[in-house]
């Protein structure tokens, strides 16, 4: 069923997920997004492309998730005056995406008064100058000297208020980013994040690669979600080349994705225990996680399943003895998880630290456009796996897990229950594995063809928008991690909590820096 947006003719995008696209003008851009917002739609991603080589200026694209599926709107803007109407009043999560699009492409989102709602830079720190835009096709970096890096944090003033700057190098084995806390006593009044430290030019790198080689880079946008990104990339490439992977390959992909979910949930549950001073939890969960990693290495050839999903299918298989091993592992794991769940749920110290800590209320989550695990723990029923038309999940009937409290404890519960559900799905997948080619050859990718990939990774929805260039090369690839939407939610969840609880709250979201810094 094609969604209806006022005055817009949507054309279907071929592929594994229901998706449509349309070119709009500035007025249509706003009215369509307003209509999508009214209909309960979400903004999934926003990015810009350089189309000057086609004499079409620049183009800004927004990907919306509606009830019916995905809608990609493209707004051509003039190269002489590269501004476009902002969307951050409708979708708060657009704010940082607008800023990133400006830093990389020099296209400015503006409010009706002609001014940018937030003109501060985001991904550009000092590595290139304000007059240069790396994703423009004629970009040639002229200076390597980092400029001074002053950034206008929002100041909180009042009696007894002071600031704690943290990062970019953090005190544990974590990715780099800067957190600026404004506190009074122990209480957090405000947290402001400054990210972008890991920006390593992934989108530009894609443009130097062939469509097939891009899969390897996609699998390294965020290492902890390598399966989700590799699948989304393969889905996008298959979408633009009219390729249909076999049923067997799709089921194996789902198996890998569920194993990635299990791995990450186990690791997070261990660290959440650790952050509550329950070192027992860390030791137990990381022992169990290591068992799964070793099984992955034995059965699939890689501990984190990197590069096992390839365009056209998969680069691994499960035979009868492997299926047996997986089923036996699942039984053991279920037993271990039951024991550990009962210990976590009944441990007074852990419950005391987690219940009501770091609450993200359902209303705030909706306003910020929060997705994935964090949204489900705040009362929202959303999961791309249960979206109609998402093969092969349609047949697997996954059960969506959610919780209404929105606190650290709720995110622990969702992780436990999702791990159990993934184990159940694994069993269903193994039972239903049909014969079929592991990998089919890709169809022709004509220049300008456009494809979308959309996968529910363990953290939330992972997106890839891919456009083919000449000779099987990538013209533009935009990978999108759910952390874009969820980082601002952390700023809200921590308000009113004490500073020592921040690591716990942060871990309960466990967002990717690499995935959002690109």
């Amino acid at each position: 069923m094609t969604p209806t947006l006022p005055g817009i003719q949507l054309a279907a995008v071929d592929g594994a997920v229901p998706a449509w696209r349309a070119e709009v003008d500035a007025a249509g851009w706003r009215t369509a997004c307003e209509a999508a917002h009214r209909a309960g739609g979400r903004l999934a991603a926003l990015w810009a492309s350089d189309e000057r080589d086609r004499q079409r200026g620049f183009s800004v694209r927004v990907l919306l998730v509606l009830y019916e599926g995905l809608v990609c709107l493209e707004l051509p803007i003039s190269a002489d005056r590269p501004t476009y109407p902002h969307l951050s009043d409708l979708f708060a999560c657009a704010g940082r995406m607008h800023r990133a699009a400006f830093d990389l492409m020099g296209v400015q989102a503006v409010a009706p008064d002609g001014r940018a709602p937030d003109a501060r830079r985001w991904l550009r720190h000092g590595a290139w100058s304000a007059e240069e835009f790396p994703l423009r096709r004629d970009f040639a970096r002229t200076s390597t000297a980092p400029a001074g890096d002053d950034y206008a944090f929002v100041r909180v003033e009042g009696e007894g208020v002071h600031e704690i700057p943290v990062g970019p190098v953090h005190a544990g084995t974590i990715e780099p980013g800067h957190f600026r806390f404004s506190i009074v006593g122990e209480k957090v009044l405000r947290l402001e994040e400054r990210l972008g430290y890991k920006h390593k030019g992934i989108e530009k790198r894609f443009e130097s690669m062939t469509l097939e080689d891009g899969a390897r880079l996609a699998g390294r946008v965020s290492g902890d979600s390598t399966v989700a990104f590799a699948w989304a990339y393969a889905m996008a490439l298959e979408s633009l080349s009219g390729t249909r992977p076999s049923e067997r390959a799709l089921l194996l992909r789902a198996l890998l994705l569920e194993r990635e979910r299990i791995l990450n949930h186990l690791g997070d549950l261990g660290y959440l225990g650790n952050d509550c001073s329950l070192a027992f939890g860390f030791a137990q969960f990381w022992r169990v996680k290591e068992d799964v990693l070793r099984a992955n290495s034995r059965l699939f050839g890689h501990r984190y399943l990197m590069d096992r999903i390839v365009p056209g299918g998969v680069d691994c298989d499960v035979d009868a003895s492997a299926a047996n091993a997986l089923n036996e592992e699942a039984l053991r794991l279920k037993d271990e998880l039951r024991t550990l769940r009962s210990i976590y749920y009944n441990h007074a110290g852990l419950q005391d630290r987690c219940v009501t800590t770091g609450r993200l209320l359902p209303g705030t989550a909706a306003r910020l456009g929060v997705v994935g695990l964090a949204a489900r723990a705040s009362g929202h029923a959303m999961d791309a796996r249960v979206h109609p038309g998402f093969a092969p999940y349609e047949k697997l009937q996954p059960r969506l897990v959610s919780h209404r409290n929105g606190d650290v404890a709720a995110r622990i519960v969702v992780r436990f229950e999702e791990a159990f559900e993934s184990l159940r799905l694994q069993r269903v997948i193994l039972r239903n594995l049909a014969d079929g080619a592991l990998r089919v050859p890709l169809g022709p990718a004509r220049e300008g063809a456009f494809g979308i990939g959309w996968v529910e990774g363990w953290r939330g929805e992972v997106l890839i928008a891919l456009e083919a260039g000449a000779d099987g090369r990538i013209r533009r690839c935009h990978p999108h991690d759910p952390s874009w939407q969820n980082w601002p939610a952390l700023e809200h969840a921590v308000i009113g909590n004490i500073v020592p609880d921040f690591p716990l709250v942060n871990k309960s979201f466990n967002l990717s820096y690499s995935g959002a810094d690109l």
Partner: protein, 171 residues
């Protein structure tokens, strides 16, 4: 409490023996005297710095802290500040936005100090290479004693890299 104790007893001791040092991983040698290395090898404080990785190497550094590898039993401990560290464990290609932070972390680490670069990206820039936003390998920014390849390298490989850095290797 009873359940926790029962689970600990049921799990038992699962630690595995440590790998041997591998001279092939060395980038530079002879920086520190055998005497210093011998002391560090008994109580080594490590500061991890992510200089721009995809976070895959971090997963394996976490995994190296699992009970299977018994790091603390080998005298190895991760610390929260470079000022407490003997060795920096650096992951990722160094993003230009992290270049300065990595240099400052290196400068904040007291002498004698060692640097181990982790992963294909740390060794040669990996899939990200050198670009407007990436300085490539760690050695392009700070001196590296030992480099451990892999995408990501396994906990055993990481451990081997660390032990190689503090081994005197018959010099």
């Amino acid at each position: 409490m009873r359940k926790i104790l029962f689970q600990i007893a049921r799990t038992g001791t699962i630690s595995e023996p440590a790998p041997s040092p591998d001279a092939a991983l060395r980038q530079i040698s002879g920086r520190l005297s055998d005497d210093v290395l011998k002391r560090l090898g008994r109580a080594l404080a490590i500061r991890h710095v992510d200089a721009g990785s995809c976070n895959g190497c971090e997963l394996e550094i976490h995994a190296a802290n699992s009970p299977y590898y018994n790091l603390e039993g080998l005298g190895i401990k991760f610390v929260a500040s470079p000022r407490h560290a003997d060795l920096l464990l650096v992951t990722g290609p160094v993003s230009r936005n992290m270049e300065e932070a990595l240099r400052r972390t290196y400068e904040a680490t007291p002498e004698p100090k060692l640097v181990v670069a982790i992963g294909d990206c740390g060794c040669d820039g990996g899939v990200f290479g050198e670009s407007y936003a990436s300085c490539g390998r760690v050695a392009n920014v700070i001196p590296v004693d030992v480099a451990v390849p892999g995408c990501p390298p396994s906990p055993v490989a990481i451990l081997q890299g660390i032990l190689t850095a503090v081994a005197s290797l018959g010099r």
